[in-house]
């Protein structure tokens, strides 16, 4: 297994872990100085106590995450690391500008491919890649969602490989999850280490629910209803869904009803919810249910989770769905590889955030390269998510590589490949003391009818296994609180 030398966000390049006390004082990046002091002053027993304390907090508030296909782990805690991940304000400002630019381009792209298709006429990407994409939803052709917004909530996954090198790893334009961890992680840290917050000026994240509610209200199809606020609801597949905790958490923080499909019905193209006082009209549905399940009359007829007639009400412009139907085409990983061009095309600017170099296996030349270098690359399904079905070449045994090569040859269009990135590492509390673990970052970008907003930071995911590059919670990854700190 190839050992990767990664950039550490506390110590820079070169491993300084394990010789912090006694030896040469390692060079520490500015944002992390207070963290290093804090770690130095915390004996292992104290760190262990804090970790137990944190676990207790999470267990009590019931934050759990169900893992598909693992009956024993029906409800498991996502590991939480008590060492915060630090971003300097100056670093964040750059990221924020890049994220806003990218999400504006994503929304423009979606409006375009379901509308005039300028980008296809301009020949920026092959037509069939969009029009025959499984994420391209024919029901949305010619439609314009209220407020003109398609991806109201986008989760843009960022990775870092050096002091100034941030890349977008993927765009989640459908129903990105994880924001509840961002919010709860902060709550737990505030209880756990108030002394650190006294020393460091940490940008708050607790405004997220407020911003989300504003975003949802801004795209309501009924604008002027004698001053009364639009009725927003959060549509969940139910308590068996892996992210149910997040759904209930968000509905609670937003102060909106958490509904299941059976709580809603459609009459004369208007959506109502069943209440103890009779039907109540619904304006905006923040849905955490995939396109395929939202309306059994139009999509998956076996879906018990959706609302019959919802698409018809949506088409009539009487209800807003956030995110819009059909955004999956924008988080397809083959489309992703064109994002720099997409940003240029719609904004006329150079992309602030770069892409990870990507081989599109649908192109014969690229496929040849990927097959020759499989052991060095990461291969992903174009429509995959959650870390399911991906290959990490350097960590895969020979047999897996061979099996994957066969899959690639059979359906090259279903895959893309990327170099195995040396994801940055952060100091992380482990049973064996503080050690470096690889991380990524998912900021949540909100787009309303009037503006694009982001809370500072996002969700840092951390691979808890030494050397592992897989940060997905479904694959055993953990989370950290992310602090944007004034320089």
């Amino acid at each position: 297994m190839a050992q990767i030398t990664a950039f550490d966000e506390m110590y820079g390049l070169g491993d300084a872990y394990g010789r912090a006390s006694g030896g040469e004082p390692a060079a520490v990046t500015s944002g992390y100085r207070a963290i290093q002091n804090w770690l130095d002053q915390s004996p292992p027993e104290l760190m262990a106590t804090r970790r137990r304390q944190a676990e207790l907090f999470f267990r009590r508030i019931g934050i759990t995450f169900a893992v598909y296909g693992d009956p024993d782990a029906a409800e498991r805690l996502i590991p939480f690391d008590i060492v915060p991940r630090i971003l300097a304000r100056s670093e964040w400002d750059g990221l924020e500008a890049g994220l806003k630019q990218r999400v504006r381009a994503l929304n423009a792209f979606l409006a375009d491919v379901y509308g005039p298709r300028d980008i296809l006429r301009a020949g920026i990407m092959p037509e069939e890649l969009v029009l025959q994409n499984p994420g391209y939803n024919l029901h949305m052709v010619g439609k314009k969602p209220p407020g003109g917004v398609w991806t109201h909530i986008a989760g843009i996954d960022l990775v870092r490989t050096g002091p100034d090198q941030f890349y977008v790893l993927e765009d989640n334009a459908r129903t990105p999850s994880g924001v509840s961890y961002m919010l709860e992680n902060r709550e737990v840290m505030l209880k756990l280490v108030p002394e650190l917050f006294d020393q460091m000026k940490v940008a708050p994240v607790e405004t997220y629910p407020e911003m989300l509610l504003e975003t949802l209200a801004s795209v309501s199809p009924r604008r002027s209803r004698s001053g009364s606020a639009p009725v927003c609801v959060l549509l969940t597949p139910g308590r068996h869904n892996s992210a149910f905790y997040e759904h209930s958490f968000l509905a609670d923080k937003l102060g909106i009803e958490l509904v299941e499909g059976s709580d809603l019905f459609v009459r004369d193209d208007i959506v109502y919810m069943r209440t103890t006082e009779g039907p109540e009209r619904v304006d905006v549905i923040y849905r955490r249910l995939d396109d395929d399940f939202i309306d059994p009359l139009v999509f998956n007829p076996a879906s018990m989770l959706g609302v019959p007639g919802l698409m018809s009400a949506y088409g009539a412009g009487n209800v807003t769905l956030a995110n819009a139907v059909g955004t999956g085409v924008a988080d397809d990983k083959a489309i992703y590889s064109y994002m720099p061009d997409i940003v240029r095309f719609y904004t006329g600017e150079e992309p602030i955030l770069g892409n990870v170099p990507t081989w599109r296996c649908r192109e014969p030349e690229a496929l040849g390269y990927v097959l020759d270098h499989l052991a060095e690359l990461v291969v992903k399904e174009v429509d995959g998510s959650g870390g399911y079905g991906m290959l990490i070449g350097p960590h895969a045994p020979q047999a897996t590589l061979a099996a994957f090569a066969a899959k690639l040859k059979a359906h090259p269009e279903k895959f893309i490949a990327q170099p195995t990135l040396a994801l940055s590492t952060c100091p992380t509390a482990t049973d064996a003391g503080i050690a470096a673990r690889h991380v990524d970052l998912r900021p949540f970008v909100l787009t309303g009818a009037n503006d694009v907003k982001i809370v500072p930071g996002g969700l840092t995911r951390v691979a808890m296994t030494p050397g592992s590059l897989v940060v997905n919670s479904s694959q055993g990854g953990g989370t950290k609180d992310t602090w944007v700190v004034d320089d």
């Binding site: 009590r60 508030i61 209930s248 609670d252």
Partner: protein, 313 residues
Amino acid sequence: MLSRTAGNLYWMGRYLERADFTARLIEATQRLAALPTSYGGAGNAWESALAATWMTQAHAERGLALDEQQISDFLTLDPANPSSIRSCLEAARANARSVRTALTEEAWEAVNTAWLEVSRYGTRLDGRDAIGPLLELVKHAVAAFEGAAQRTMLRGDAFWFVNLGSAIERADNSARLLDVKYHLLLPRGETVGGSLDYFQWTTILRTVSAMTAYRWVYRDTVKPWLVADLLILNRQIPRSLASCYDELLRHLDLLASVTGKRGPAHRLASAGHARLSRSNIDTIFSDGLHEFLNQFIIDNNKLGEAIAEQYLF
């Protein structure tokens, strides 16, 4: 409020109440079973516990023996028994979880903690010593939920639906408990008022934590008709049928004050309440306690169904 939410809250209230009742029943049964036969130690104490939860048939269908261990396993931790303490808390927590937003953080944490702690006991009791701490835990957990709800929940429909659920369930449990005593506990040939009878009636009082209350209210030795009076008609005892109906009526009225609508549930609750107010214990006994209780259980179930129908869950 969403109808489904109202339904979940109502059932959460019922399941928590049932878990608490079952825990108390088992404690009382242990006490009864431990008595020497000459003092009324009934060989069938555990069977009567099954009967009080109306689980005799379900127990037999599972092919379990009628001994202490298998019955207490069945009533406490058996996942196959939908009314076992474990199942009740699991169901209560599942209901709470799907309406997380309708509960306060503290009320949710109480239900969640109750389930987490009970689930740690697994699906079978690990020896006789395990049962005591388990029952203590359940009683504390339900009290903790009620305390959290009482102290933190908005006085609104969510709170009222939880209370409706627990009041319906509590009335049902009290009625079943009394009914079982009257018909099952007493072996053939034993006279009412004998020593066996005394311990069994006191067991009932202990089950509902009303032994001391009995003394304060009646200042008399334990007499069957007074025990029945206490549990059916006495408004000072929170578990009495009359108290439960006071509460049902009050919460239904509060709901009506918000929705502006009254319906079949209000009519049935008022009728039940009036019936209890009109009754006295002498006529109940002369007309037959069993018949009275049986009719009460049927009417109480009807009220439960009417609530579900009226609020669409």
